[in-house]
């Protein structure tokens, strides 16, 4: 996690947004020193519900910059993700993906005899940037944990973007079958070395498979009316003067 936090901190600085205006609902328990260092408001929410919690924060106070930092984006939180994309809710979703996917054929596992899951899984994983893009996210990108500069740039860009942005970060996470240090230091380098940067690539072609290198980069960057914009536009049109645009008083 540490390189990701560094990148996040750098990203907030680069974006020019005050850290006190950034709220981070997350199902990953950040350490308190991390939160102090970042200077943000941190909410350790229940698993899978960081995005609707963030929706509430944003709609309660549109002046906030909400960054759901999710570990569990697609299992419990899958529904919330696709609908937030459809509405183009103003959130920056940073998904820390430490998946366990199909057996990495030929991958030299760390020196212990047991591979990093007792049996590898046989399910096709989600291609998060592609799903986010097809549901309507305006900014999609993927980086590995060691691409700290590129990740910080992406975060800075996305923080200044209006709408749902998704940045997937491939990072190792602890598991129960090998020693953490072995796994983390080997895997984090493995991901970095086995990635290839393809900015502007169609996320449909950025599926992660064990046979190919991990495709990273900034994939899409487009514009779409956000939820609050759309809400204000539609209601002003119908109600005219009786309606004060939302976000005006707080933003």
């Amino acid at each position: 996690m540490n390189p990701i936090i560094t990148a996040f901190s750098k990203g907030i600085e680069k974006s020019g947004i005050k850290p006190s205006k950034v709220s981070v609902p997350s199902d990953i328990p950040f350490g308190s020193e991390v939160v102090n260092h970042l200077g943000v408001d941190f909410f350790h929410t229940i698993r899978g519900r960081a995005i609707p919690f963030g929706t509430g924060l944003k709609l309660g106070n549109p002046a906030l910059k909400v960054v759901p930092f999710v570990g569990d984006l697609m299992t419990l939180g899958g529904n919330h993700f696709v609908h937030a994309g459809r509405r183009n809710m103003e959130l920056l979703v940073i998904c820390v993906n430490n998946f366990v996917y199909r057996k990495i054929g030929g991958q030299p596992t760390p020196s212990t005899p047991v591979t990093f899951s007792p049996y590898s899984t046989f399910e096709e994983p989600f291609n998060i940037p592609h799903l986010g893009n097809s549901c309507g996210a305006v900014y999609t990108a993927r980086w590995t944990a060691l691409h700290t500069d590129e990740l910080a740039n992406s975060i800075a860009e996305a923080l200044n973007k209006q709408g749902l942005s998704v940045i997937e970060v491939i990072s190792p996470g602890p598991n129960y079958y090998t020693k953490i240090e072995d796994i983390e230091s080997n895997l984090i380098n493995f991901y970095y070395e086995n990635s290839v940067i393809k900015n502007g690539e169609d996320p449909k072609n950025a599926r992660i498979t064990p046979e190919e290198k991990i495709v990273v980069g900034k994939f899409t960057d487009k514009e779409r009316p956000t939820f609050i914009d759309s809400y204000n536009a539609q209601l002003s049109k119908v109600l005219g003067d009786k309606f004060t645009p939302y976000g005006g008083k707080n933003g």
């Binding site: 529904n79 183009n88 046989f122 539609q234």
Partner: protein, 305 residues
């Protein structure tokens, strides 16, 4: 018999029946759908101007056409107007909780892979609260057929906005017009990995029947979206007339484009509706992947020893 009468009975010039043979029980002629419906529960609860009945007709006709063992078909519905379909069809029917028919169906399929699972539910049930189950089942390619009847609204609860309600359309919870863009169901299914995706309206009854029959014989996650009128809420609140007016609208504005890229299938308020069969591909199903993995594991175990 007059020519017109012959035509209506499906008798063509050479005197043969075009349609399926007349059914009888004990020499009494019965309606072709009688053995597939729970006749003791008919008349049903759907409103006049509702298109769900048409979807059910197409479904029952497709069941016969597909020639599958009806004892091995389970139909699972959720909550909503379309969710009542399971209660009227004479198959192993399950009327589950809101949003969970796909999860329930996944359980049935994995529990007994011989059963053909059909999930028959509405747009609110499948895409709003059931959205998570929808995309995951598509990703896993669970072998089931999902018939999603899309009437652009939450009809059973009184006309609230749905994730398929077009922008600016009225509903009771968007009394000044819907502010959220709708989902394009074929696109969502396609990007999640469904192997068969088609959309028809309730007007295209024969093509819908053929699509469902095809999908019933397809292995993998198949989605057939059925655009249906809702005369009680959607078209009434938006002043679009009644069911027949909506069918006329479909007639004038539906365009058949097979194989169209699902990205281009958005439906706006009273805009063109593109229908057709969009995706038909092959992918290993969930049980295929599982079985392959299981055999690999067993081989490895042997190697390790």
């Amino acid at each position: 018999m007059s020519t017109a009468h012959k035509f209506m009975c499906g008798i063509n010039e050479s005197g043969r029946h075009k349609m399926s043979p007349v059914k009888t029980i004990d020499s009494k002629i019965i309606h072709p759908m009688d053995n597939l419906l729970r006749m003791e529960r008919i008349p049903h609860i759907w409103c006049p101007s509702c298109g769900i009945g048409l979807a059910v007709t197409a479904f029952t006709a497709a069941l016969e056409k597909a020639k599958i063992d009806l004892n091995k078909v389970a139909i699972v519905s959720g909550i909503g107007c379309t969710g009542r379909v399971a209660g009227y069809t004479k198959l192993d029917s399950f009327h589950t909780t809101h949003g969970r028919p796909i999860a329930f169906g996944t359980g049935i399929k994995i529990g007994n892979p011989e059963i053909k699972v059909v999930v028959f539910s509405g747009d609110g049930d499948l895409i709003a609260i059931g959205g998570n189950h929808f995309i995951h089942a598509a990703r896993r390619n669970i072998d089931m057929l999902v018939v999603c009847v899309n009437n652009f609204i939450y009809a059973m609860t009184g006309g609230q906005v749905a994730p398929t309600t077009p922008l600016a359309a009225y509903a009771t919870t968007s009394p000044y017009g819907c502010v959220e863009p709708p989902f394009n169901i074929p696109y969502l299914a396609d990007s999640s990995g469904a192997v068969y995706v088609a959309r028809w309206t309730t007007l295209h009854i024969r093509r819908l029947t053929n699509s469902i029959a095809e999908a019933l014989n397809k292995r993998g996650f198949s989605v057939v979206e059925v655009i249906s009128p809702c005369g009680m809420y959607y078209s009434r609140i938006n002043k679009l007339g009644d069911g027949l007016d909506m069918m006329k609208f479909y007639h004038d504005n539906a365009e058949i484009r097979h194989g169209e890229d699902t990205k281009n299938l958005d439906i706006g308020f009273q805009t063109k509706i593109i229908v057709g069969k969009f995706v038909d591909r092959e992918r290993p199903t969930y049980m295929d992947s599982y079985n392959k993995w299981l055999s690999e594991i067993k081989t490895e175990e042997k190697l390790r020893k």
